[in-house]
Amino acid sequence: MNRFMRSTLTGRARSMAAVLFLFLALFGPAPAAVEAQVAVRGEMVHTVAGPPIPDGVVLIGADGRIEAVGPASEIQIPAGYRVLTGRVVTPGLVDGRSVVGLAGPLGVPHDQDQIETSNPIQPELRAFDGYNARDLLVEWVRVHGVTTLHTGHAPGALMSGQTMIVKPVGTTVGEAIVDSATMVAMTLGPEVAQLFSGRPGTRSRGVAMVRQELIRAQEYAARHAAASEDSRPPRDLKLETLARLLDGDLRALVTAHRVPEILAALRLREEFGLDMVLDGAAESYLLLDDIREAGIPVILHPPMARHSGAMENATFETARILRDAGIPVTIQSGYEPYVPKTRVLLFEAGPLVAYGFTMEEALALVTIDAARILRLDDRVGSLEVGKDGDIAIFDGDPMEYTTRVCAVIIDGIPVSEECY
């Protein structure tokens, strides 16, 4: 179930993985039970992989994966399958970037683990060490249709820590994890100076600090590679993480809203060969050629996030403009320091259908497009045979605010059956 088992981790990363294997062995998910044999029948099934299917059926097998998709006239629902029905069936939603599980609803230190301000560069902070699977907001995004969640440390630090991919289920992080270390969350912008009381105090200083740390990590990795087994320099968790970033084993998730910060991010990518994803990117529509040439995707800010501060020039059309320019793009529920403590991915797609997206396009944006950017499209993001049995059932057009999410299924198991 875990990307660990399939990934090609190198060096230190492999030993970290070993620790997690143990962790998962102790706390990990039980194998999918026979109860995972579920059939979903909808008046309209949007597979996102092809045209919508009127009166469609999706069968999910005992392994939690989709075993058949098609019109009810062609698919026999086997005896013993639990049947869930609804008006509109879609893949479960894929949230491009969130802090849910680390940033809880209370807004007091007790449940705010999304950012640590003792040092502006802390890539070694692991998301799964701070994730509370029982947090109310994990349930909140789940009942509103999210089945895959890219979550972790918040924007605001030069490097705030790592992100990971989970399914919003289970009572421990081990049950939730899909990919334990996905990206390193970086931020370039004046908000860093604010949060870290002037250390760094300017954007240029921030970029210089990031460059210096990455250069140290290059030197650390070179020393390690050159040293014999018994003469290696002492292990340094920060530099080790940065070495993974430089290797491309971790991706750089760079929050940059304004033109100068986006250009600085692209410059860092070029200098260090980072595997980069732009995050937030409010003014990305002003740099279409640069971003397209860099060949990197954009996890755009939530359209309804406040258009103020670094986001003052955000628009409801940016997703469409990026997509039309051939830049891979998705949206996110993002990070909010106050209310709403998390945005709802489904609701954030609303402004897009008012300004240029069709329902199908908006749905693709928050399912398969996000899955591709997270490199999980072989598992989630569309209803296709062999993919995870992650499904949302709606009582109408999913993009309408008056439509409710009436069931959510993750890995073939119904995890919400009330209308929200």
Binding site: Y338, K341, T402
Partner: protein, 468 residues
């Protein structure tokens, strides 16, 4: 108000050659702005002169689905506005168009009252400072900026009447301002009252719960907060008695106290209290205070309203609520629930929605109604909560909040149903003057974002005093 109505308004401008709904990007829209301004907004433009004439002629909006809010929906209706008021509204086949009418075809559109927001922080104003917890004498109208960009995003959201409030960091942070979102250079151009020196121009903002707690001039407990408020209202009672006892004898009047004067207006019932309150017990405390001193109150936010719906209904007080996309953000809003609107409606209590802009953006105000319906509120109550109920909470129910003959010609033109995510606000009209037009490239940048890229001189414009 009369000033704004009399100014030359190029009403028909944006129906000219330039349509920007299809412009490729905000930048392209911004570039289009210069050409638009150059061709249309030059001083002395013949269009501007024609607009003045247009203001005096009746304007007929023909063919829309009309939602009057206080009456039944009209599938194909006509609304006629003249002299800033609605002179006719009804089924198109029952309304004769005046021969001199300027006819606007709005077929396929939805026309409804301009939205009324009972709680907003647009306009860049402020209220009381850290010198104390009670600032009844402070007026937000002394700090509002009529050129604030967020007044314009609010027009883009279909808002036409707004209660602009100081914040919730005080027990009483100051006097609120009831405004129409007319274009103007002075706040007087926007106020609904005509004489801010002699009239009551808004309500009074109060708050309880954790926001007004602090050190050292602020209370640290809820009971202390209530005691401080009670002591001030007691002082106001005594002040009012002295004023009454003085009668016509000016020499017997107490020294004029601006704060007690404003509190006396509250006791007289001429100034509404707008009371920020979240938690169940705080809601009940606000009601208790209003009953002890007999003041009129609207509860605001009311996060735990679903837990206190019957008590609120029994007290007969209104609730101006906000539906936030997830619970919490602070402890006292932990139990906030989408179903509060439905619960209050079922209990028979008065419900309005507000933006609390910038907590939620005014451009998403209509969304509040849709989310409330999602959580069980009736469509009818949700539409009233965007319009007439908020107007009543500001004692403006006889002027705005519904489409009725004699009321102000404040309305919006929508591309579709007000509760649909696919719907865009296309035009906002105040007193017969168009203040927002999605076809205008500058207005469009305010609707979709990116207006900061347009030079300020062009954003403000040369002939924008009275709208368009």
């Amino acid at each position: 108000m009369e000033l704004a109505r009399a100014l030359p308004i190029p009403v028909s401008l944006s129906r000219g050659g330039l349509s920007t709904r299809a412009c490729a990007s905000p930048v392209a829209c911004a570039l289009a702005v210069s050409a638009f301004l150059a061709s249309s907004f030059l001083p002395g433009s013949p269009l501007a002169a024609g607009a003045l004439e247009a203001q005096e002629r009746p304007h007929a909006f023909v063919g829309a689905r009309i939602l009057p809010v206080t009456g039944a929906e009209i599938p194909s209706g006509t609304l006629i506005a003249q002299g800033g008021r609605i002179t006719a509204v009804g089924a198109s086949d029952e309304i004769a168009l005046p021969p001199d009418a300027v006819v606007h075809s709005v077929e396929g559109k939805v026309l409804m009252p301009g939205l009324v927001d009972s709680h907003s922080h647009i306009g860049g104003g402020d209220g009381g400072d850290a010198s104390g917890a009670i600032h009844g004498e402070v007026r937000i109208l002394d700090a509002l900026n009529p050129l604030d960009d967020r007044l314009r995003t609010a027009r883009a959201g279909g808002l036409t009447t707004v209660n602009i409030m100081p914040g919730s960091g005080h027990l009483m942070s100051g006097q609120t301002a009831y405004v129409k979102l007319r274009y103007g250079r002075r706040i007087e151009d926007m106020l609904i009252c005509t004489d801010p020196l002699g009239e009551i121009c808004g309500g009074m903002k109060m708050a309880n719960g954790t926001n007004p707690m602090g050190n050292p001039t602020f209370p640290q407990t809820r009971a202390r907060a209530a005691a401080v408020v009670r002591a001030r209202f007691q002082a106001a009672l005594e002040y009012r008695e002295k004023v009454a006892a003085a009668g016509d004898d000016a020499s017997r009047l107490p020294p004029r106290d601006l704060q007690l004067e404003a509190l006396a207006q509250i006791l007289d019932g001429t100034r509404m209290v707008h009371f920020h309150t979240h938690r169940h017990d705080d809601i009940l405390t606000a009601i208790r205070l209003s009953e002890e001193f007999g003041f009129r109150v609207v509860l605001h936010h009311v996060s735990d309203g679903w837990l206190a719906a019957d008590a609120i209904a029994e007290a007969g007080v209104g609730s101006s609520i906000i539906l936030v996309d997830s619970p919490g953000g602070k402890l006292e809003a932990m139990n906030a629930d989408y179903r509060t609107g439905a619960a209050l409606e079922r209990a028979g209590a008065q419900v309005g929605f507000h933006t609390d802009d910038g907590i939620s953006d005014s451009r998403f105000f209509l969304r509040q109604a849709a989310v409330a319906v999602r959580a069980g509120m009736s469509r009818e109550a949700a539409l009233r909560a965007m319009t007439i109920e908020n107007a009543r909470m500001m004692d403006l129910g006889d002027r705005v909040g519904s489409l009725e003959v004699g009321k102000d010609a404040d309305f919006i033109v929508l591309s579709g149903d007000p509760l649909s995510a696919y719907t865009r606000v296309e035009e906002s009209w105040i007193e017969g003057i168009r203040v927002f037009d999605l076809d205008d490239p500058i207005d469009r940048a305010y609707a979709v974002g990116g207006y900061g890229l347009i030079p300020i001189s062009e954003r403000i414009g040369l002939n924008r005093e009275g709208g368009r």
